[in-house]
Amino acid sequence: MSDPAEKIINLVLSIQRRNGGILTQLDESLPLLAPELGLDSLDLAEVVACAQRESGRSPFDEAQPPRTWAEFLQCCKSQT
């Protein structure tokens, strides 16, 4: 069974492909809504919902909300 971070990465890549992208790997240094990813706030909401289910909390409940995907995934790991 894949871990939460892997599920989230797979979801991000799935959404960007749905939006017409061709990425096969996620550059975790990218900001959450980096133009290269082609995600908008609605797509991000979907990823956050997934993260909430996987970790039980939203990454945006943290005192310092994540700005990059690395920080986002770190938030999810620390909450599980």
Binding site: E6, L11, S14, E46, A49, C50, R53, S58
Partner: protein
């Protein structure tokens, strides 16, 4: 005369009853038939104030609905209206009824009255399917009144194989075309009646069609009505009122789609959950769909969608069916209205609902 010990003294104008099962309504009906007014309330409901019945309208029964706020609400229905909805001729008189509806609701009260006027029985069905089947079979029930969801749940159990009721009455929630086709195929000899009613307004639509549509002529014969932005409005003594039900019209037919006030607020824009459910139910693989919401820190809310596929769609076929539904909804709906969480109900007994992880979704 109704024994006071059977009821609580309400006001000078009516008495209270807290029925637990349909059988508890027999003394209520006897009392109302003799001219009294009786309010039916859930056992746990302690009213602080109840609306008095209009004495000009004669004997009445007060029925309870949950109301849009979730708090019980009392609506008075006249004895004349309630008895006019019963059938006392033909095969109807010997039907033995069962239903999971609560006895204090309009649907439950109406069903119990149908049995009472004809001297038959009305059994309060358990919400646990195995117990419900024991009741249906031990009482030799020939007629059931329930929601499509409840009938589908019974249908999944092996006891349904050899059961051939004479009458099934459906109501309480919209019937999808797919559900109707399934039920008609499983019960080819059964007479179906589908009803759209409420505690506040009584029976508004009634049909023997089982495709989710009603003949609008039924409503026209009894009410002045109109659709305002897809919502059904009725003309009453107090003027036009909004029913909060979303209704589609096609020629001489009407279809209740869901609640007009069930909306999602996605980043400040409102979207009808009923329309989203209806869009999913147009997909061939979908038996029923219910859109809902959950909070989200980015957009305020996201839309969730609970799906029930046709029973023959199982295992990996569900993944493909889900992908097709997702693609269809993304093509039809604006992006904010796309469901972001998908939950598939089990097609067969014994399986738990599956939440479909995005990783499992074919891209």
């Amino acid at each position: 005369m109704l024994q006071i010990s059977d009821m609580t003294q309400g006001t000078a104008n009516f008495n209270l009853s807290h029925p637990r099962i349909f059988a508890d309504l027999a003394p209520v009906f006897s009392a109302v038939a003799e001219g009294q007014c009786v309010a039916l309330l859930p056992e746990t409901f302690a009213p602080s104030a109840l609306l008095d019945p209009d004495p000009v309208l004669g004997p009445q029964v007060g029925v309870t609905s949950s109301g849009s706020t979730g708090s019980p609400k009392l609506s008075w229905r006249t004895w004349t209206e309630l008895t006019s909805n019963t059938r006392t001729l033909g095969e109807s008189v010997s039907l033995k009824w069962a239903s999971p509806y609560r006895p204090e609701t309009f649907a439950g009260c109406q069903l119990a009255l149908q049995a009472w006027v004809n001297g038959t029985i009305a059994v309060s069905l358990s919400l646990t399917p195995n117990e419900a089947w024991r009741q249906l079979l031990s009482h030799d029930i020939t007629a059931v009144s329930c929601t499509p969801t409840y009938l589908y749940l019974l249908f999944l159990y092996p006891q349904a194989k050899n059961w051939e009721p004479i009458q099934i009455t459906l109501g309480g929630e919209p019937l999808t075309t797919a559900q109707g086709q399934l039920f008609a195929a499983r019960f080819p000899k059964t007479r179906f009646t589908v009803i759209y009613a409420s505690a506040e307004h009584g029976v508004l639509l009634k049909t023997s069609r089982i495709d989710g549509w009603f003949e609008s002529s039924f409503l026209t014969e009894h009410r002045e009505w109109k659709l305002v932005q897809g919502e059904l409005h009725l003309h009453t003594a107090g003027g036009w009122i909004a029913t909060k039900d979303r209704v589609e019209e096609e020629g001489s037919l009407l279809r209740v789609v869901g609640r007009a006030d069930a909306v999602a607020n996605i980043a400040g824009q409102k979207y009808s959950l009923a329309l989203i459910s209806a869009a999913a139910e147009k997909c061939r693989s979908v038996l029923s769909a219910r859109a809902g919401t959950e909070p989200n820190p980015i957009t305020g809310e996201i839309i969730t969608l609970n799906l029930t596929f046709h029973p023959e769609i199982r295992g990996q076929q569900q993944l493909a069916a889900l992908a097709a539904v997702q693609e269809a909804l993304r093509a039809q709906l604006p992006k904010p209205a796309w469901p972001r969480r998908w939950i598939v109900a089990p097609p067969v007994l014994g399986q738990n609902s599956k939440e479909f992880s995005p990783c499992a979704t074919p891209s």
